[in-house]
Symmetry: C2
Subunit: 417 residues, 2 copies
């Protein structure tokens, strides 16, 4: 028996306990790091498969290493509701990122099965093998295969040790061939929807004192790399009005990005990397490089901010007599969630006695890939410790896990394709 219904918060307790057990598998001894198809990754997959079987699911490992558990409907012609998330991690990651969205549905299906409840559609729990992109620098690998968007060129990409993805797949007992991966693409006509449960990975729910949130859309990023070129000169002998200081220009640009990206509620703008190559304390910087990442709940808000930022940065460069080179390195569109599914989730949250909050997801999730072929929604669960994620301090409470499981149970019972 997976869940002991005699204890308090039996579903939540089972979820949190399993997240801890699953964290025992790691590529590193002192930190939680599980990257695509390593021994620790395969051990984690085997553990998830075992829990799925115990919960009464039919289990398969597909050609990209996803662990797929099926709770079949009595009607073989029924459509399929997919739920899931990823079980790979960032380096030195947390126990709940991704994994909550696998473990929670398993516990809920176990509960359904013990009650003898069937659903009027097939429910599939997909434990996605790769989302974080650590080993092969290719994120959303696993969910891309389900929508027919797996980039076959990646099979020849090598990891830091020179091992190709194809060789890594074969070493893991997967076919490692294009046809098998192409065959994973689901027929959109057979899909009912996709729902993903995920920790928020941010501080909003914690700050509002709310356990659960309904995601309105998953923000796509625009990323740029900026290079400011001024004139390197002697720090002691170049009067202030005669300088073309690349770092001072970059500083003004960083503040302009911060200011512009503070002007809409879902908008965020980040300069995560800044540097003066070969800088010295006594040399006025001739060059400064920085990264820009801008996201918002909708593409129009984001793109308006990007346009303004590009215009303003160029104006700063002109005014200061420095050159600015801006290169766009990524542009991913926003994935809006289904209004019908958001409403349903909100009703389930209200029935569980919690106040629902609608919020965008600033982080990317597998739901963003599935949204290309079916309607999607996401249930966010409150993060503890300031909302920190991608970090060993990532945490959530048993009570919140319990509440999220009851909302998910309500959702799968009331959802109709």
């Amino acid at each position: 028996m997976l869940v002991d219904s005699q204890t308090e918060n039996p579903l939540g307790r089972a979820i949190v306990e399993r997240a801890e057990l699953l964290a025992a598998h790691s590529d590193q001894p002192d930190a939680l790091t599980v990257t695509y198809l390593t021994p620790a990754h395969r051990a984690a997959a085997a553990q998830i498969a075992a829990w799925m079987r115990e919960a009464g699911l039919q289990v398969q490992v597909d050609a990209v290493g996803n662990v797929v558990g099926r709770y079949a409907s009595a009607d073989p012609e029924a459509k399929t509701l997919i739920t899931g998330s990823h079980f790979d991690t960032v380096r030195n990651g947390g126990r709940f990122d991704g994994r909550l969205g696998i473990l929670l549905p398993i516990v809920v299906v176990d509960d359904l099965r013990r009650r003898g409840e069937r659903l009027p559609y097939h429910l599939e729990i997909v434990a996605f093998a790769e989302e974080e992109g650590v080993r092969f620098k290719s994120s959303f690998l696993a969910s891309s295969a389900l929508v027919g968007a797996f980039d076959m060129a990646l099979l020849d990409r090598i990891d830091a040790d020179g091992v190709t993805m194809r060789a890594a797949m074969r070493a893991a007992g997967l076919p490692g061939d294009e046809a098998a991966i192409a065959a994973l693409a689901r027929d959109p006509a057979r899909l009912a929807a996709y729902i993903e449960v995920h920790i928020e990975q941010g501080p909003v729910l914690l700050d509002r004192g709310l356990p659960l949130g309904v995601v309105t859309s998953i923000a796509g990023s625009v990323r740029m790399s900026a290079t400011v070129t001024g004139v390197a000169s002697h720090a002691g002998t170049t009067p202030m009005p005669m300088r073309r200081d690349a770092a001072a220009a970059a500083a003004e640009m960083i503040l302009a990005i911060e200011r512009r990206c503070s002007q809409a509620p879902t908008l965020v703008g980040t300069v995560g990397m800044v540097g003066v190559p070969n800088g010295a304390a006594n040399v006025v910087p001739g060059r400064c490089e920085f990264s820009i990442d801008i996201r918002a709940g909708d593409d129009a808000t984001r793109d308006a901010a990007v346009d303004d930022v590009v215009r303003e940065l160029n104006a700063i460069a002109r005014r200061r007599g420095v050159a600015l080179d801006l290169a766009q390195t990524m542009r991913v569109p926003c994935a809006p969630c289904s209004p019908r599914l958001m409403d349903l989730l909100e009703q389930c949250i209200a029935r569980a006695g919690a106040a629902p909050l609608r919020l965008p997801s600033g982080a990317g999730h597998d739901a963003m890939i599935l949204q290309r072929v079916t309607e999607v929604c996401m249930l966010f669960v409150r993060c503890g410790d300031g909302g920190i994620s991608h970090n060993p301090r990532e945490t959530m409470t048993v009570e919140d896990a319990e509440l999220a499981a009851r909302v998910f149970l309500d959702f799968v019972r009331t959802f109709r394709p």
Copy 2:
């Protein structure tokens, strides 16, 4: 004969030609790098000594490797006017930095000797063996010995290859012992003054269209290293108002330094190094480090700016909820030039038909060390190519060298101890 008086600008031509000849000696094949006591350094010293002898000077190499040429007065009891500069270079440096202040006086003394002119004081030209601090990370080594301030602990300091300074001295035929170095300290009562000719290493004279400048003081630096600590968090999921972004805080601080240090004519403030350790495009920076260098023509102006900057940076940190750690890494007092000698230089410049400009030296020079024991002045000569220095593009014209030599000649003729 060193100088061919039949050509136009004979002194200037001799100076520029010799700077080119001297640049043939380098530690590196494709760049001008001459560091303390390397074979190239010793070859440069030998060349300088040869030119000094040819000009009629009595030449000695002292215990720290300085090449000292003496143009003795008829009166053995006369005081000594020292002039000179350094012949070591930065890595990939320029031909005139330091060396102009050696080559120009040699050419002028040659001219005096050919005319049979003696001076009512001893004139010594000191080619300082070390000022830039490249090999042993200890600048002003050579001039420090003349004022009795040589740090004997440096003798055991090692270079990048593990060679001690003492061993390097002995390999160069120098005694390499404390007593010999201590004996280099000059008796201040026997010194008349110190005058240094140097390229400006900045754009001020070039910008004003003036060939020569009279230095009012040599700025001392205050250097600090700043570490801003915020909270690293997810770039997609942390709303702008909830961030404690170390890089955005640093950007605001950099602009505050620039603004405050633009408020006095001789004041300069530089942030030459900036970095986000382990930064990533999708992570709000939790830490940002930068350097601060503040200089001015006088200590009061500089220290007032430092105090304001420290106060303002702390206010920015408090307002943004980040921690700021400011560590002072250097504090060197300003060295004021002698008003009497500045006046005399100015008269010489005016007699040569040029408009004199008084300006502070933002860069450090050997004169700042000699100022501890005698009155000093400096003659700045215009740099070409935007005023660039510490760079192979460093340049000056034959005409400016000629004019500077004629002003120096006038100075030594009219100077009285």
